[in-house]
């Protein structure tokens, strides 16, 4: 237990599903974190399409609820909040845009330029402008962390960078999209065709109304780019990935795979030779990559530790917030 407390003031930009999760997790864990790590997390600003609220003493629960209800639009912009309200860490949780990286890209640049550390779950800016953003962070003497952008709660970037430090990583392959894994698992288990399972997944909120990015492999590819850049030091973009999705997978194919002792999974695969590939692959039933439902999994192949496999929940507000929180604590320990 640490007695000296350091106050860490946080802004949350983008108050959707993950942003809410972050606020919730900070509220739940604040005391435990203060006593364990000696840091007092205080949310001093939230920006969303519904409005922007700020309080340098820390936002009250009432103010946050009023913002959510649309009753408290405030009178500044998100960028003003990032620039002008004094704080330490900006949490960027706006939706991903793979093509432009916006609005996250501008938020991150503004925050770094204003001397804030940045913790984000947003894949777009990290996949698109990784090198530029890391250079900018270094120039400003600030950190940019993005564990939540790949694999949700499943630790992978910090696992490689911290726990496996000293190892050379030769490849990472795994299931990085829970929606595809759910669809393929359900098709195989229940003998239901693709279209049927997709509709079902949309109804229970596992697939989006426009599922293209998930089922065509785009989401997996973007995460692979982030791993390629952050773990393998490449300077890759989405265009460097060979991408095949799961829309063509037939029930017959799943059955034939089953007969031969395999399952079909959408696998993202990156290696130190610069190969970046997303494609449905046959996974032996007894391989650790054979995980079911919406779970994510990754096998990291290293020169010293051999193969390490991590499995975890790839999506969900609290799960993503868990990765954001560990990034924040990591900044101060």
């Amino acid at each position: 237990m640490k007695t000296k407390q350091k106050t860490v003031r946080i802004s949350i930009i983008g108050f959707g599903y993950v942003g809410n999760g972050v606020a919730e997790v900070i509220r739940r864990k604040r005391e435990a974190i203060a006593s364990k790590y000696g840091i007092d997390l205080k949310v001093v600003g939230i920006a969303d399409l519904k409005g922007v609220i700020a309080d340098e003493q820390g936002l009250s629960e009432e103010a946050i609820q009023a913002l959510k209800a649309g009753n408290n639009p405030g009178d500044m912009t998100g960028l003003e909040l990032i620039r002008d309200i004094e704080h330490d860490v900006m949490v960027e949780t706006t939706p991903t845009n793979v093509e432009t990286g916006e609005p996250g890209l501008t938020h991150i640049i503004t925050a770094l330029d204003s001397g804030r550390h940045v913790v984000t779950s947003n894949k777009g800016p990290i996949a698109r402008d990784y090198r530029m953003l890391m250079d900018l962070a270094a120039k400003r003497g600030r950190e940019l962390k993005f564990e939540a952008s790949v694999g949700g709660a499943m630790p992978i970037i910090s696992l490689v960078q911290d726990n496996l430090a000293g190892n050379g990583v030769t490849s990472i392959k795994g299931i990085l999209n829970g929606t595809c894994n759910y669809i393929l698992t359900r098709m195989a288990d229940e003998n239901l065709p693709y279209e049927h399972v997709l509709k079902e997944a949309q109804e229970i909120g596992i697939a989006e109304t426009d599922p293209t990015k998930d089922v065509e492999g785009v989401d997996t590819a973007v995460k692979l780019v982030i791993l390629a850049n952050s773990v393998f030091g490449m300077n890759a973009t989405y265009k460097d990935v060979t991408v095949k999705g799961i829309t063509e997978i037939t029930l017959d194919a799943l059955k034939l795979a089953d007969d031969a002792g395999y399952v079909i999974k959408l696998i993202g695969d990156v290696d130190s030779d610069g190969r970046l590939e997303v494609a449905p692959r046959l996974v032996p039933k007894d391989d650790p990559l054979n995980v079911c439902g919406t779970l994510n999994v990754a096998t990291i192949k290293t020169d010293l530790a051999g193969e390490i496999t991590v499995i975890g929940k790839g999506a969900g507000p609290i799960e993503a917030a868990s990765a954001v929180l560990s990034d924040i604590i990591g900044l101060y320990s």
């Binding site: 997978i249 037939t250 034939l256 031969a260 079909i264 696998i267 494609a279 046959l282 032996p284």
Partner: protein
């Protein structure tokens, strides 16, 4: 190619090196050596079981060299089709002449399609197939997969390979 070989060595020191040295001299790769010290032949020699990979053309000179060195070569057998893998295909497989694709793999001499299961849900619908390919070694298996992928791409057939 992969070869298994039974040889017999004199029971005096230095014989194992004498027998193995020529294999590496000819670029061979020894995969396994089993030394049967407890199963001496009536003439007092020690049997040795070898599995090695070596270029076709170097095999007969290797055997000659071993004989020159006083090593008895009792048996040579080619270990064919040591490695295999399953690949799935999805698309208009039959219409696009799967026979030709199989032939292109069989013609290589180092790989063969040893099993094929096909599901055809209807004339207009895409069919699915699982194909088992066997080859003499891992590298050859990769080559065979590349041949299959190239043929499938031309025909608009999706290939699902193993991880």
């Amino acid at each position: 190619m992969k070869v298994s070989m039974s040889i017999e060595l004199k029971d005096i020191p230095g014989q194992l090196v004498l027998a193995l040295q020529p294999i590496s001299d000819f670029g061979g790769n020894i995969r396994s050596v089993v030394h049967h010290r407890d199963k001496k032949t009536p003439s007092g020699r020690i049997p040795l079981q070898l599995v090695l990979e070596i270029e076709d053309r170097n095999l007969s000179v290797l055997v000659e060299r071993l004989k020159e060195r006083g090593v008895n070569v009792v048996r040579i057998g080619e270990e064919r089709l040591m490695d295999s893998m399953v690949v799935l295909l999805i698309g208009h497989i039959v219409h696009s002449d799967i026979r030709e694709t199989i032939d292109s793999i069989d013609r290589t001499g180092f790989a063969e399609v040893v099993e094929l299961s096909l599901s055809m849900p209807g004339v207009e619908l895409k069919s699915s197939a699982s194909v088992t390919i066997s080859a003499v070694g891992t590298e050859e298996l990769k080559d065979a997969l590349a041949i299959l992928e190239a043929a499938a791409e031309k025909k608009g057939i999706m290939v699902i390979a193993s991880i």
